[in-house]
């Protein structure tokens, strides 16, 4: 079932922790893990632009912070715009000789609500203008910080406080918005999906995004045991199943060329992923079948796009 993993020796992953432990995330938080791993790849020569959301609240309760590197909080809707401003401001100072060129990386972090709903306009603007920045969407598939309200990244069938499952409804009635595809449509140099269950893959992609000249977008599925109603010790397992069922495939799009990050000869049934989560508990066999068919279709499309893409990019 699960793929076998090699044991990683010391020195392969840096022991530096730009995002320190001691923050207030819930136990089993997949998003805090995503940020920790991304921060290791980002290093110290960076500015983090952080939207309102779980990671901002748990990691920066005044006067404490988990960030060892420069960090700025933004509104909910404007993360990509603030990151654009920081990048443009630094560039202007370097150009005028007011600051030395130190190749400072600007990295925007926002949740799925802050990216796919309220922040989409600002994101589109930043990607279109071509700022040299990395935008990481930490997708836990609902507004978890305010109490598990649905977002446009909430998957079909999930019960949330504003898409409650019951007699009248099966929960979320719309399909998850395809944010990576929207990013790709902006014709930017680098788009990737990642999940902390595949930690080395995540770090590699962040490192690659930082090297790219121009905008890069990484969409990170981050398991939320509280909102998804799964066991806190299952965070890694649930994330891995999201990938291996094809619900959340891992891939890269470099200069428009699709490349699957993992070769899955056969997808696990979606049921194995759904059944671990209370938010899907109410789903009937028929609904699960609809989800399975959709996943098969979407995954096949992705495989086709990858097969059409040239390996060199």
């Amino acid at each position: 079932m699960m793929e076998t993993m090699a044991v990683h020796g010391p020195g392969i992953i840096t022991e530096e922790e730009p995002f320190t432990p001691g923050h207030r995330a819930c136990s089993g938080c997949g998003e805090a893990l995503s940020v920790r791993l991304a921060a290791k790849a980002i290093g110290n020569n960076a500015i983090i632009v952080n939207a309102t959301g779980c990671m901002e609240v748990v990691a920066s309760p005044f006067p404490h912070t988990s960030w060892r590197i420069p960090w700025i909080h933004t509104l909910f809707e404007n993360t990509a715009a603030v990151a654009s401003g920081a990048e443009a401001g630094l560039r202007a100072l370097v150009k005028k000789g007011k600051r030395p060129e130190k190749n400072v990386k600007v990295v925007a972090l926002a949740g799925d609500g802050g990216t796919s709903d309220i922040g989409l306009q600002a994101l589109s603007g930043a990607l279109e203008r071509g700022h040299d920045l990395v935008y990481i969407c930490l997708d836990n598939e609902a507004y978890m910080n305010t109490g598990i309200q649905r977002s446009s990244a909430t998957p079909f069938g999930a019960s949330t406080t504003t898409s409650p499952a019951g007699r009248e409804s099966l929960g979320q009635v719309t399909w998850k918005k395809n944010l990576p595809a929207i990013a790709v449509a902006h014709d930017i140099p680098y788009v990737a999906t990642a999940c902390p269950s595949y930690h080395r893959d995540l770090m590699k992609k962040v490192a690659k995004a930082l090297e790219v000249k121009g905008p890069a977008y990484i969409h990170v599925l981050s398991v939320c045991p509280v909102g998804w109603r799964c066991a806190t010790e299952d965070t890694i397992k649930v994330g891995r199943l999201a990938v291996r069922t094809g619900v959340f495939p891992l891939y890269e799009v470099e200069n428009g060329q699709y490349k699957l990050s993992l070769t899955l000869t056969k997808l696990e049934p979606v049921d194995s992923y759904l059944k671990l989560q209370g938010r899907f508990r109410h789903l009937t066999e028929d609904t699960i079948k609809i989800i399975q068919e959709r996943v098969n279709r979407e995954y096949a499309k992705l495989v086709e796009m990858a097969s059409k893409s040239s390996p060199s990019g």
């Binding site: 309102t52 709903d117 309220i118 305010t146 309200q149 504003t162």
Partner: protein, 354 residues
């Protein structure tokens, strides 16, 4: 016996809206008003009405603009930062004379602030908030019961004056649970012949707030101003407690008035003649009531959950020759009755000559 149910203030607002015939609700998650949004997500479909979780507060206010223009009783709810984001749309609604209900469950600010209750949006809500010459009717509930009752009144006044109405409350009142008597539902809604509903068989209606020629726009704004004057004449609401023999009057609204009422009772036990004036409408503000009180009372104490906003209207009403002191908390911190009592005692010991 009417039904009495224990409910949080946020839920009372939602149920009040349903009783008032609200057909469409548009909202976006923000603490401390989420219970309202979540309750509407469950209840509106049950009632066969429309619930939409929008992609932002900007979308919520814009959908409200559309629904109101279509002649629908509609509402949005948010908390301080979301209310700021909605200001442009609110100005357009006021300019286009669209009736709708806006709920602001205020929290600590400025900026992201925090999720504690506060009254720091007083200026923004009562003086207009967005651009241009306009006012919003502001209703300030002080209990879960009033959350329901004033929400129902808000819909009535919005339609009566074709103006947006703000229910200005805060996180403390939104979260606190109190018994609420469930009111009778409104069954007859007013006709809206001005609404845009398609022009088959009648002349077209136009909803806008635009006039290129300034000389033509001014008369339109004048009509708005005349409307605000009518509102000032007809809609002032307040509650007075122990005003007859008071030598010191506390002026407070919303949750601050709850602390003030406790402080009043404590002061009365100590033999201090303290009264309370609680504006229920913040626009129109009860200027005349306060001015009349100032004929016989010289000492006023303003209690507010902001750092001296509401006090400006009190000073304007009572005049500069009166003593007006402030007992306040801000940034999401609750105001303890003891803090108000201390100020009362200090003011009572020291009398200033006149």
């Amino acid at each position: 016996m009417p039904k009495k149910i224990l409910m949080a203030g946020n839920i009372a607002i939602a149920e009040g809206a349903i009783l008032a015939g609200c057909q469409a609700y548009f909202g976006y998650p923000i603490t401390p008003q989420n219970e309202l949004l979540e309750h509407m997500a469950k209840r509106m479909p049950e009632e066969g009405r429309v619930f939409v979780q929008t992609e932002s507060e900007l979308a919520a206010i814009s959908m409200l603009y559309g629904a109101a223009a279509a002649g629908c009783r509609a509402m949005t709810s948010t908390s301080s930062p979301g209310f700021s984001l909605q200001q442009e749309g609110i100005s357009y609604m006021a300019g286009a004379e669209l009736p709708a209900v806006l709920v602001n469950v205020m929290r600590g600010g400025p900026g992201l602030g925090n999720i504690g209750g506060a009254q720091g949006d007083y200026f923004q809500a009562t003086k207009g908030g967005g651009h241009g010459d306009y006012r919003l009717i502001n209703l300030a509930p002080a209990s879960a019961q009033e959350m329901m009752d004033l929400t129902m009144l808000a819909f009535e006044l919005a339609d009566k004056y074709r103006n947006p109405v703000v229910l200005l409350t805060d996180g403390f009142l939104g979260q606190a649970m109190e018994p609420v008597i469930i009111r009778q539902p409104v069954t007859e809604l007013p006709d809206k012949p001005w609404a845009i509903t398609g022009a088959a068989g009648r002349p077209k209606n136009v909803i806008n707030s635009f006039e290129m020629e300034p000389a033509n726009f001014q008369p339109r704004v004048s009509l708005l101003l005349q409307k605000f004057e009518r509102i000032k004449q007809n809609e002032v609401r307040y509650q007075g407690i122990h005003l007859d023999d008071a030598s010191l009057v506390i002026v407070a609204y919303g949750s601050a008035s709850r602390s003030a009422l406790t402080a009043l009772k404590m002061a009365r036990q100590k033999g201090l003649r303290v009264g309370l004036l609680r504006p229920i409408t913040l626009f129109p503000f009860p200027y005349q009531i306060l001015a009349d009180l100032a004929q016989k009372v010289s000492d006023f104490l303003v209690a507010e959950l902001s750092s001296g906003q509401f006090i400006e209207d009190v000073k304007l009403a009572v005049g500069l020759d009166k003593r007006v002191e402030l007992a306040s908390q801000y940034g999401g911190v609750p105001l303890a009755p003891e803090t108000i009592l201390e100020t009362i005692e200090r003011m009572s010991k020291v009398t200033i000559g006149r």
